[in-house]
Symmetry: C2
């Protein structure tokens, strides 16, 4: 046994030495981002000069052009667009809605039409309200005939005791995505959904409804969490309540749009592709700063920082700014389609679509062997407060790349503030911290560089 | 050996069983806080109904009365005040300051008098500017006679590559605390200090100057980081710059004030005291939301949550809202003085004075045996994203309790945003996230309960 000792020591030393060099390189990359990042200024441009960027809108097109310019400015070797057709939903006129209780008195609601929904028609709809707290209750009332002709009020609060707020969003989210069609199945005339939001305030939060084609596409709105609480209290007092809702939202024919791609060609294995991205489109109510201007500018910053440092990655690194994450996923579908058509080899894909908050970790969706390989680098991230490398989803834009064998990861920032502002008018540039945004980009750059250097 | 196995297994089981029960209790406490905390509403009151609470001001007195009422409302067994005398500094009239370069043209500065400083007199001071980047440079220029009669511009930017922003504050902080007297030593007539801030903006950040009595107490102001960058660029272009500064700040005679204390009496060892606190006073420019309204309402919340759950801690838990942390530390000194005079036995003290951001850990300042004892509970905090239990300072209010043998700890929240707003007009209620504030309070409550249950 004793004869093996020097060899073991040698191996250990080599490993430690490599880790030491990697930690220096990681520090060089993160220092560059923390000192010189342009991500925050780019985000300011996206939010304040362009604004809301719903798929199919003129602003979405402006964002395509502006971010292509940013990628060129960042020094990408090549910048190009991937054409794709996207759903083109429009909100129409300012929504109206109120509650009445048998007198001329009205309680005006803070509301907005939900994404991809049909409008009420110009005369609006009026009916009595049924409050629903879970789908079993809906099914039971529906089968007994109590839902027919009613406006269903889905009141599924986000659970405040879940520390990871995405878990609460996942649990309550079906009230918005599936609720309207499930209510339509029992003859409801409209749906009113408590905003999927973590704080009590007056802002309605929009988001996609997924209609089930088997049932009428009834109109659906979100109301603010304060209004939902008020309404639930009124209902508990057995008041004979009616609601009036008027929305003129509509789905127009699909519109042409683009993904924006900027890449640094790998110096040794250019055929092995690493994708890092976020989504360009946002809801129409918001500047889309945290969702997902942050992911867009963080991805561009990775290109800028590596180029500024003169780092030549061994594998190809591609920043991809996906179109239409919010209400269709057509950009992601196009990216996958082209990857397959071009026979591309996708090694790794990382998405940032959980906000530009302080990074806490990466969630990993990959084979165990790849995960083991990646976990060797965990200690390199501790100095940046990045500790969590649990299994979990990556994101809806890079997710489809599993089909072409890519190992997937998602940036996991601190999630406490995200659902205060997600899909609401409060998702503004001012909600973003410069240092938090840049630190997220810094650790993404480090991970992308490590994969480009060593593979998985 | 085999005979010991059952005993070992039994011990292991008991340990695991205890941890399991503790984790349930911890979850019960954190759930209560995340569901029902009043901390955010209390903070709203402190910030919006009272506002800035500089020691000696009428608002500081209002804060004493309001928080005593909050502690009674929270269900504290006893609530009392500890009288203490505090420095009473006043800012005086709105400060004036500008830069000129040989023409009538002026660049108006975003500036504020620094805390505890003397004013310039009503006529102001005017002189040429010397930029200083480090104290060695100051000493060298001072010894050569170049500082005499000048206005010294201390330009010590916070290092953006330090991930823990308090480290950057610590490194650059002496430009403000010690800079003015070190410049006065060489005959400077005033000091102009780059704000100790982590972001580029137009807000000056105040804070204490510590005069050295051996030298003249020259006036000193902070200028915004944007102005500091502009000024440094102008100086680099060798322009013949003069500055004019006018401040009428002054130190008045000491004023009477109070610490506010609310406690739950221990059921088994009431003589063993656990202190948890923050500071009531704030700078006059800010609402003092993150610094340190957050620590105040988090401490009150611990009392509320334990009482709401009917938990009877074995040891006495005391929420202490210290007066005068910002510019004198007289509240902390009084608390120590009374602890000694009353022969109190102080087991543990925890401070929250780093903002109400997402908690990342606790820094520990205690004996190794106590630290080992506390580290057994580390895994109980992982579900709340609290991982760091490094050695480090606690806070300036509980720090003095080391003298009476207390083990000390400080809440360590995420530090990325703190120095964007610290001591500036931007430290408002709106900068605080409800969930982040409550999560900090939740993990503080858990730690305080564990110490009250098991000691250290």
């Amino acid at each position: 046994m004793r004869t093996l000792l020097p060899i073991i020591l040698l191996l250990l030393n080599t490993g430690i030495f490599a880790q030491h060099n990697d930690s220096l390189r990681v520090k060089q990359i993160t220092d560059e981002v923390m000192r010189n990042a342009t991500a925050y200024d780019n985000l300011n441009f996206l939010c304040k000069k362009i604004g809301a960027r719903l798929s199919g809108s003129p602003q979405a097109q402006k964002a395509v052009e502006a971010t292509a310019a940013m990628l060129r400015q960042a020094g990408a070797d090549t910048v190009y667009l991937q054409p794709c057709m996207v759903p083109h939903w429009v909100r129409g006129e300012k929504e109206q809605g109120y509650i009445q209780w048998g007198s001329p008195e009205k309680f005006n609601l803070h509301l907005c039409a939900l994404g991809n929904t049909s409008g009420t028609g110009s005369k609006g709809v009026r009916s009595t309200i049924v409050e629903i707290s879970n789908f079993a209750q809906l099914d039971s009332l529906g089968k007994a005939g109590y839902i027919r002709g009613k406006i269903v009020f889905f009141n599924f609060p986000m659970n405040p005791t879940y520390i990871e707020s995405f878990r609460a969003y996942g649990e309550s989210g079906s009230s918005r995505t599936r609720g309207p069609s499930r209510a339509a199945k029992y003859g409801a005339v409209a749906a009113m959904v408590r905003s999927l939001a973590s704080n009590p305030d007056d802002y309605p939060h929009t988001g996609t409804v997924v209609y089930n084609d088997s049932f009428p596409k009834i109109p659906a709105v979100a109301i603010s969490t304060n209004d939902a609480r008020w309404l639930s209290n009124q209902i508990a007092q057995k008041k004979p309540l009616t609601a009036f809702l008027r929305t003129t939202s509509a789905m127009l024919p699909d519109a042409p749009s683009f993904n924006v791609v900027g890449e640094i060609r790998g110096s040794e294995k250019p055929g092995e592709i690493i994708t890092v991205g976020g989504h360009l489109d946002s809801w129409d109510l918001a500047e889309g700063a945290q969702d997902d201007g942050a992911g867009v500018v963080q991805s561009i910053e990775i290109i800028r920082a590596l180029k500024a440092l003169g780092i030549r990655p061994k594998r190809t690194i591609r920043a991809v700014l996906f179109m239409n994450e919010e209400n269709g996923g057509k950009g992601a579908a196009k990216y996958l389609e082209l990857a397959k058509a071009n026979g591309e080899q996708h090694l790794f894909a990382l998405e940032s679509d959980a906000g530009g908050f302080s990074p806490r970790g990466f969630s990993l969706d990959m084979k165990d062997t790849q995960r083991s390989s990646l976990l060797r680098w965990k200690p390199l991230f501790y100095p940046y407060g990045v500790y969590d490398f649990d299994r979990g989803g990556s994101g809806s834009d890079v997710g489809p790349l599993k089909e072409v064998g890519a190992a997937l990861a998602g940036l996991r920032p601190d999630s406490q503030r995200y659902f205060d502002i997600h899909h609401a008018a409060t998702d503004t540039f001012e909600s973003v911290s410069r240092r938090e945004l840049h630190l997220g980009s810094a650790v993404m750059a480090a991970l992308v560089w490590l994969v480009s250097e060593y593979g998985l």
